[in-house]
């Protein structure tokens, strides 16, 4: 639809809205598999859709994954806050009045780019579609406070299977599994009494903390920015979207990779994204 990566989209977590448009519009629905309906008629996902003024967009039941996305030509035109149009609901800033949309909201749409001229391709080629699997391998770089785990604890983290619990959102995902053991020690001043406690520190996005040694939590992009739980490693940047697609019940294995491996995976993902943009006749 001629947008760039700067044009905001709507994110729908499990459930989507019913939307009607008051003018002709060009849209596309991507992300997790879901039935897309215009005036009740099924339409294709990952493809350009042309809506007439008064058309109604609605959705069926999500078929896997966690979130699907509605893009509109010109982008969702909410004001930028701190350089972003995204919603940070915990701080009640950004997006649409700092909150998720509610029935009755009127969402502003920006002017089409390139005078509304549409690129020729109208569908994302299948090879670029993300995979929505019930099993995932998530690559992590060990570090931060992994030396505080016992050998057995680290073994459990890397060799056992972990399942995404229902406690999973944009802030973080909690996993159930065999648990881990932290080394006993006399705690440093100010750290708190549990061996999984540290003097409050900054949290890396994607870092994995295991409070009390029970359930690992991957901090995702809206996570708190710091706190007092030791982190044992960090999901590589190339796998953060994979983690975001994990629905409750997803069986997960954590694979330790080197920093060099992480950088290579990052380059591969960037190349793949560039090819996807290219296949759509667009540039980021």
């Amino acid at each position: 639809m001629g947008n760039t990566a700067r044009e905001a989209v709507l994110e729908c977590t499990y459930l989507g809205p019913v939307l009607s448009t008051n003018s002709d519009a060009v849209i596309a629905v991507t992300g997790a598999p879901v039935e897309v309906k215009v005036n009740g008629e099924p339409r294709q996902q990952w493809s350009r859709l042309l809506l007439k003024a008064g058309d109604q967009l609605s959705f069926g039941v999500i078929q896997g994954g966690t979130r699907y996305y509605i893009a509109v030509q010109g982008g969702i035109d909410v004001p930028e806050v701190l350089g972003s149009r995204s919603t940070y609901s915990l701080g009640a800033i950004g997006g649409y009045n700092g909150r998720k949309l509610e029935a009755g909201d009127v969402v502003p749409v920006g002017a089409p780019l390139n005078g509304g001229k549409l690129p020729r391709p109208d569908t994302v080629p299948e090879e670029f579609l993300p995979v929505y699997a019930k099993e995932q391998e998530v690559r992590i770089v060990l570090g931060l406070y992994d030396h505080r785990l016992t050998e057995e604890g680290l073994g459990n983290l890397l060799n056992e299977e972990w399942k995404v619990t229902p406690v999973a959102d944009r802030m973080g995902l909690r996993y159930s599994g065999p648990g881990v053991k932290w080394k006993e020690r006399e705690q440093p001043f100010g750290a708190g009494s549990d061996p999984s406690n540290i003097v409050d520190a900054g949290y890396a996005v994607g870092s994995i903390q295991i409070p009390g040694g029970t359930q690992p939590i991957i901090l995702h992009r809206d996570a708190v920015s710091g706190g007092g739980y030791a982190m044992v490693g960090t999901v590589i940047s190339a796998d953060m979207d994979l983690v975001a697609r994990a629905a409750p019940g997803t069986a997960t294995r954590f694979a330790a990779v080197s920093l060099d491996d992480a950088l290579e995976a990052r380059r591969d993902l960037a190349e793949r994204r560039n090819k996807a943009w290219g296949a759509l006749g667009a540039s980021r």
């Binding site: 570090g143 003097v199 409050d200 870092s207």
Partner: protein, 301 residues
């Protein structure tokens, strides 16, 4: 404060995936550790390396977010190590900062109501109040003595984070006078906005309503996070506190609290504040004597 705390070993460097460098200056909290963190953060910020996305000084560690496509990890690591090495011989001993008076309604009804909802299974002593418990574990006579200890000596903002604009506070007193209180056994799902809390050796002010595990003693009377930037203190930025700020709590009554609410509604409220130079060596040598000097800066403002 203990003199051995002033001598810190070299920092520990470790990667948080491919976008974060974590520098642990010390496992334990201390004023010299926090000072070193702030010194490294300041120098790194001044260096203006392209590819640095964010520099997050924390209590005794530093988190740096970077773009590895622009700044290779080894290059960042070397830059920070060079700064640390240079500081070992030229450690900054003074901090240009400000002292701010923060009015607090201790033992307020808002935190009391929330605390009532999180007792059994959440709190160490479900039958008592958070502040009674804090007094007890610090071997103080009663809540009143705890409150006095809490506000009579100032605190240093040693970190800003967790949620938008939340200051972590480290009291500027000798090690053996630090107030230490365990966090809740299990975190609450609710905490009133502006709750003055405490966990481990750290005080905090919750900038927004939400989850939290710190003990609750009162509410700050005025906002510390203002996305609309309506009040004069938020003209430059929506977050009030910066690492290095010095905070003096001032107890207020319900009537005074209500007067402040009226000033906030009218848009006229301003924090009492004054610029100060904070000298590490003086703070370590005679904390309470030096604090008196710092607090004098607020006189007549």
């Amino acid at each position: 404060m203990t003199t051995e705390a002033a001598v810190l070993p070299g920092a520990r460097y470790t990667w948080g995936g491919d976008e974060f460098l974590f520098v642990e200056v010390s496992e334990a909290m201390s004023l010299p550790a926090n000072f070193k963190v702030m010194s490294i953060a300041g120098r790194l910020s001044d260096a203006g390396l392209p590819g640095i996305v964010d520099i997050c000084p924390a209590n005794a560690s530093l988190l740096v977010r970077f773009d590895p496509d622009v700044l290779p990890p080894e290059q960042l690591g070397t830059a920070v190590r060079d700064i640390e090495r240079d500081l070992a011989s030229h450690q900054e001993r003074a901090l240009e900062t400000r002292i701010v008076e923060v009015p607090v309604w201790y033992e307020d009804p808002f935190t009391a109501e929330v605390a009532q909802r999180f007792r059994e299974g959440f709190h160490q002593e479900p039958e008592g109040s958070d502040i009674d418990y804090a007094a007890k574990v610090n071997h103080l006579k009663d809540a009143a003595e705890f409150i006095q200890r809490h506000h009579e000596q100032p605190w240093l903002v040693s970190m800003v984070g967790f949620v938008a604009g939340l200051p972590f506070l480290f009291q500027l007193v000798d090690h053996d006078k630090q107030l230490e209180v365990p966090k809740y056994l299990s975190p609450r799902t609710d905490t009133p906005k502006l709750t003055v809390g405490h966990g481990g050796c750290f005080g905090c002010i919750y900038s927004v309503r939400g989850a939290g595990g710190y003990q609750m003693f009162g509410v700050a009377a005025a906002p510390i996070f203002d996305p609309d930037q309506a009040l004069a203190d938020f003209k430059d930025f929506m977050v009030f506190f910066r690492p290095g700020d010095i905070v003096k709590f001032k107890p207020v009554t319900e009537a005074e609290y209500n007067e402040i609410q009226a000033e906030i509604s009218a848009g006229t409220f301003r924090y009492r504040q004054a610029p100060v130079t904070f000298e590490l060596s003086q703070a370590l040598a005679d904390p309470e004597g030096y604090n008196r000097e710092l607090m004098e800066a607020l006189n007549g403002i």
